[in-house]
């Protein structure tokens, strides 16, 4: 049979980040896909040896620009647990608000890119237009559109004024309305369904065994969400993990779509339940010991392993990001796809290569 060998990446318009796939196709059906990474690898874990544990916050925020808030949250939670610091309630709520804003903007971004992957440009534009509302919120409340940099060990750096709170509520409500306006396009348009349903499907068992994380896992019917660990304010805020059962690209899209809407509810609950008080506590000393912390990033479960030795430099920071966990499923479901579905499938795990390679 006549084969075509395609270098898919590192520079490729549908791949927002450099990732290389060697695709071997027959009549555009992928027969073999071997990935190559390393285009984004910086080696930032090693920076822990020359940046003190406070400076490392800024470093881990830049592991990934799209979920930067959750990286620093996970890192700070770990350090706080290691040092036995209990942060103020208000700080927990504030972290929740920003983390959910982050999840929303990340999901909207993904939904747009996903639409772009199957060639639906105007849907992409629509999602990104809605996303700008969240970006404005970030910029106005935290000082930067993308890397909000609000977390410090012991709490948060910024507070929300009541006006800001109500502004956030109206903006996210508006965003929610606009998202719902394109719900029918995203979830039931013939062409969208045709391009996503049944593509790159993973069964529940496969997804679990391959170690998938986050929406990829939940789309296959496993109700696992790290927010169930009740970190930050999630011990007070009720939520149900969003689960879909088909495990295909469509289901992954639905999970993220619904999660974006769910985040609005969580933000609303967090703002309404937010107690008054300090936003941070002073921290003394240096971290010592070993710790594993996990948070739910937009892309799924993120795990930090940290080892302190009583100096201000951590001995080891090990970051296992959700995309890292989702790459093996990606390798597994590639063969058999149509070439046209490759971008859809690759994007369906919401790849964040800078997370993966750090």
């Amino acid at each position: 049979m006549a084969r075509t060998i395609i270098p898919f990446g590192p520079q490729h318009p549908v791949l927002p980040e450099p990732l290389h796939l060697k695709l071997v196709c027959e009549d555009e059906i992928v027969k073999e896909a071997i990935p190559a990474l390393g285009y984004v690898h910086r080696g930032l874990e090693k920076l822990a040896e020359i940046r003190d544990f406070n400076q490392m916050i800024q470093v881990v925020e830049r592991v990934c620009g799209i979920c930067s808030m959750l990286h620093s949250q996970c890192y700070c939670q770990g350090i706080e647990e290691m040092m036995g610091v209990e942060i103020p309630e208000r700080a927990k709520y504030l972290r929740t608000v920003w983390s959910e804003l982050h999840r929303m903007h990340s999901h909207l971004l993904w939904l747009g890119l996903f639409a772009d992957a199957f060639g639906f440009e105007s849907l992409f534009m629509q999602f990104w237009r809605i996303r700008e509302r969240i970006m404005d919120l970030n910029e106005a409340t935290a000082g930067s559109r993308v890397i909000v940099s609000v977390n410090v060990v012991g709490g948060v750096r910024q507070d929300l004024t009541p006006e800001q709170c109500s502004w956030i509520l109206t903006e996210v409500a508006q965003a929610g309305k606009e998202i719902k306006a394109i719900q029918s396009t995203m979830l039931s348009d013939y062409t969208v369904c045709k391009r996503t349903k049944g593509v790159a499907a993973l069964t529940k068992e496969q997804a679990y065994e391959l170690g998938a994380a986050g929406p990829t896992l939940r789309a296959s019917g496993v109700a696992q969400d790290m927010r169930q660990l009740k970190y930050a304010a999630f011990d007070k805020i009720d939520f149900e993990p969003v689960v879909e059962y088909d495990g295909d690209c469509y289901a992954r899209g639905v999970v993220r779509f619904r999660e974006a809407l769910q985040s609005i509810d969580i933000i609303r609950a967090a703002i309404s339940g937010m107690p008054q008080g300090d936003i941070s506590v002073p921290v003394k000393g240096n971290p010592e010991g070993e710790i594993i912390t996990r948070v739910e990033q937009p892309r799924g479960e993120c795990m930090y392993y940290m080892k302190g030795n009583g100096t201000k430099f951590l001995e080891r920071v090990r970051i296992r990001t959700p995309t890292f966990a989702n790459v093996p499923p990606l390798i597994a479901f590639m063969p058999g796809l149509e070439l046209a579905d490759v971008p859809v499938a690759v994007l369906s795990i919401d790849p964040c290569i800078s997370c993966t390679e750090r």
Partner: protein
């Protein structure tokens, strides 16, 4: 007259290509945001092309490491003249916070000549638009 029209058109139709050279995505999504309704750089005739052979302006974000340096060089070489390069974000400018990592060579200008540096971490879409406009000025100077 035709020549003049061509020269004038050069500044009116910068086709950009974005290459992520190991950035944290922060600058990338801001570059993409420039194309979206809120900022819409197509107002300046900017078209986002996916292929260096069609591009006039290369937007590069992120740090350079040995592996992607080869790719960056290759892409730059494949762009037909006249061309411009815009480095975006602290990482692209100097390596940023990652300058001292073992797999980071530094900024974009270690590999290819850079025309415009857009600082920021990440650079705001407004800053990127400013950068593109500044790059257009370079093309305007390129008469003949």
């Amino acid at each position: 007259m035709l020549k003049k029209f061509i020269d004038n058109s050069r500044a009116k139709s910068p086709w950009i290509m974005h290459f992520d050279c190991g950035s944290c995505n922060g600058c990338d999504i801001e570059v993409l945001a420039c194309l979206t309704p809120m900022y819409d750089v197509e107002r300046f005739g900017v078209v986002n092309v996916g292929n260096p052979k069609h591009a006039d302006v290369l937007l590069v974000t992120g740090t350079v490491n040995p592996r992607n340096a080869k790719v960056l060089r290759n892409i730059y070489d494949q762009m037909p003249d006249p061309k411009g390069v815009i480095a975006i974000g602290a990482c692209g400018l100097s390596g940023g916070i990652f300058r001292e990592c073992y797999n980071v060579l530094g900024g974009i200008d270690k590999v290819i000549p850079v025309d415009i540096y857009v600082p920021g971490c990440p650079a705001k879409p407004e800053a990127i638009i400013d950068g593109v406009v500044a790059a257009l000025a370079k093309f305007e100077g390129l008469k003949g």
